[in-house]
Symmetry: D2
Subunit: 280 residues, 4 copies
């Protein structure tokens, strides 16, 4: 059970009175506990902590005056994932899905699962409805989409990615979510910190709901799932932006890090196809 030290720092130049909504603090879940954390804003403006959505994403709202603002977060997080034998993890029948996962079947802004229903069925419909199918979707994405920075924008959707064949972590996750939903698998976007990500940055991956639990998937294959630390979850990246600006502010600096604490279990290369990792 690894313990991960995460940190992020955002520096903005604020040009006029601006409200900033920040989502960088890690979540507390049955399988992810915070041993220590510190959230610092300089200058020391009032912070409104907002637990948003059913998943209670930890947004912090800051009312900022013109000038520089320096936002730092650091935490030590203990992960106790449930791992299961991948072949035994089955898709949950539609008629057995619990109410709280139902809306994660619906199409969303960047995940047009309604448009890609036939596509998903043609590519993955014949496979067995289990963990390995979702893993095969991730393999398909990793082999069909080229990871290339600067080729997508905040408006890029799963359909765009599929056509242009390039994207970044957020786009890979959106495409994975879209295929899952089209196949009847509830899926949701997760923003977080990730060990071994190079270059270090916030990361975007996804969870699929199988056998009554949410399982982690990262179609970029750029970071081991055992080192993923959740910040927020949502229908897609629209729900979990690390920063939302109402006003005028310019990001001057962004540094992000995540590392396994020495002495804790090592975060290594996992083989997603054999071990299913659940955080719920």
């Amino acid at each position: 059970m690894p313990t991960i030290a995460v940190a992020s720092r955002l520096v903005y130049e604020v040009a006029q009175p601006t409200t900033l909504l920040v989502n960088v603090a890690v979540a507390t879940t049955p399988r992810q506990s915070i041993e220590h954390e510190r959230f610092t804003v300089k200058p020391n403006v009032p912070q409104t902590h907002l637990p948003v959505g059913e998943e209670r994403n930890r947004f912090v709202r800051l009312s900022l005056e013109p000038g520089e603002v320096d936002i730092s977060y650091e935490a030590r997080v203990r992960l106790e994932p449930v791992t299961e034998d991948a072949p035994s993890v089955e898709q949950t029948d539609y008629e057995s899905l619990p109410p709280q996962v139902m809306s994660y079947l619906n199409p969303s802004r960047y995940c047009e699962s309604d448009r890609l229903a036939s596509y998903a069925l043609a590519e993955f419909g014949a496979m067995e409805a289990n963990y390995e199918r979702v893993d095969a979707i991730c393999d398909w994405i990793a082999s069909h989409i080229e990871y290339r920075g600067g080729t997508t924008t905040a408006l890029t959707t799963a359909c765009d990615v599929l056509l242009q064949r390039t994207g970044v972590c957020r786009d890979f996750a959106h495409l994975g979510i879209t295929f899952c939903r089209a196949l009847g698998i509830p899926a949701r976007y997760v923003s977080g910190y990730a060990c071994h990500l190079d270059p270090p940055d916030f990361h975007g991956f996804f969870e699929a709901y199988l056998t009554g639990r949410w399982f982690l998937f990262d179609p970029t294959r750029l970071a081991p799932t055992s080192g993923l630390v959740r910040i927020g979850v949502g229908r897609d990246a629209a729900d979990t932006a690390f920063a939302t600006i109402w006003g005028v502010a310019q990001l001057k600096e962004k540094t992000v890090s995540a590392e396994a604490v020495i002495g804790s279990e090592t975060v290594g290369e996992d083989n997603a196809a054999e071990v299913a990792v659940s955080t719920a």
Copy 2:
């Protein structure tokens, strides 16, 4: 305070074992109470009642065998809307929005508020940030978009509607929601029953969050807001379909009605610009 009698009937021909998710039962809110209701399915299959989402939309899940299934709902609903003097209803500042409305600012599948940010600002940015601006948005939609059945599909988005200039109630609501969100006003889709709708059918409209309350708007201008009865709410129509089919079933018959009960307050032509109607 009107009392409304609503009813709907859906008949499907089911071709193979199918799960049907139905959302036709009216919601209970502080301002909408059910005096009586009856939900009947023939043949009498087990019904799983699923309260979905934070708003606890009343989905019913049915596991159906091949053959005809006849789903009837009827209810008597008492509405106690809060009405306010429209000019006094102000937009809530972004820095004062409560957590539970924040996600209704995000773009969604059919409401690409991120793509239409400049559009909304150019058309409505100079107006005062209050109830009357949202009402002006509805007037704009009513005068720019032609209500014409059969011109849109389940995949049509607000951007599509804006370009093609035609749509139905769902499309009108999506466009209204999109403009609101782009202007920083939380807005959500509402499915429901509507008095005086001709031809009678399920209706789609929207709510905008102002001065700490959700206010009703119907940009189709086809039914008085005082006669709108809520079924479900969601980010857009994807969350509140009256029926979702996993399997193969053909809709054979759909009848919908809504009428003010004699003796109760009449549902009349309201003038949305003067009286703001809130159901929260």
Copy 3:
């Protein structure tokens, strides 16, 4: 060298003074000659014959008064295609393309070759640049896209088809053209008559420019290329509609036929991968 008898009949109910542009008469090319033809309009309104574009598509313009109009065309067409050994047909280098084919490399309304550049390269970039690659593109389309009427509209583009995985002849041709252009192969849409098409209708296919000639391809695989009779060519279907209406007219009847004349060479199942058919 087969001789084909083609015929078509269009009946419109004209509601107000309307100009109709009809494109149903077969083209004359070095390899396609008309032995006999008759174009009849009842009532007998003046016909303006317009040779449109560099390819001189044979449009006929009719100024119609309200009432029924019955447009008939029939022709007997001799085809003398050049057939070549497929493996010997190479792609023409960009630096050797003649001016008159250059614009068939550009993206067009329904063929967004600029958006699908990476897609085409990823799927077909590693293949040898010859006839067989274009044939492989057609195979890919035939196996990835389901031919299904009513799933596309006049607005559907190659990108749409790729995402939704269904379409009709026009959509199949658009996708083939798009992939070709993205790979540096001039490609153009051809409307025509087709033997053995079931049900009989106008057909849409495409030509790709290789080794200094235009070669025929039909990714629907629904009709033998040796029985394809050209009406018009263009950048995509926008250039070769069988009818364009300026005014108000309703199509009441459409019948189309194409059959090899008895005694001429039989139109059979060709194996496109072995014999390359050129009409230029």
Copy 4:
């Protein structure tokens, strides 16, 4: 009748053997004659001059080896536009359009006139069908779309521009063309040099076909139409790129200029609504 001195210089760093198609030389038309021109390429590689399309755009194809290539063009051009009294310039009836302008009514890659048919009709359908309507379209574009560099890409279409409300000259021209075609007015893209453009660059504008002639329009309102010098025309910008690269080459420098020759007629601020300028 002004005489304009135009010049452009393009410097590329070529990384591997590359074919470059350049379109910077001015056109010769009945109303635009070249008094002098010089096209220089260093190093001195062979130039293939390709007159592309019905309009015989003057493309030059260069086969380049790795290294720097410096392409210079300069010309002295005499313009003899026909100017007419704007109110007397009428739209040509569809039934009177000559064949060579017909394809300029069709939708093209960046001008989806089929999607915007209702939009154009709703905004401009009630106006008189003449020069002033096209001028009103340009005014509408100038007042609804913000000219802002870097907000669009080579893939941006007229529909995109309409939704996002920003663009550059090419986008303004595409939107003008789209509205014209949707209203039955043949319209085509023109690339060229423009006096008084600040900062100087290649320019994109459009021509609409009225009363049997092509008239110039520039919806950016950034340069007087009397100082516009044509390079190429096409259905949209896809047909008239100043450079198309097949291979790998990086643009290192681009300088463009256009100035009225001293002693010739001054190029001034024209009032497009009163004087219609035709170059045909």
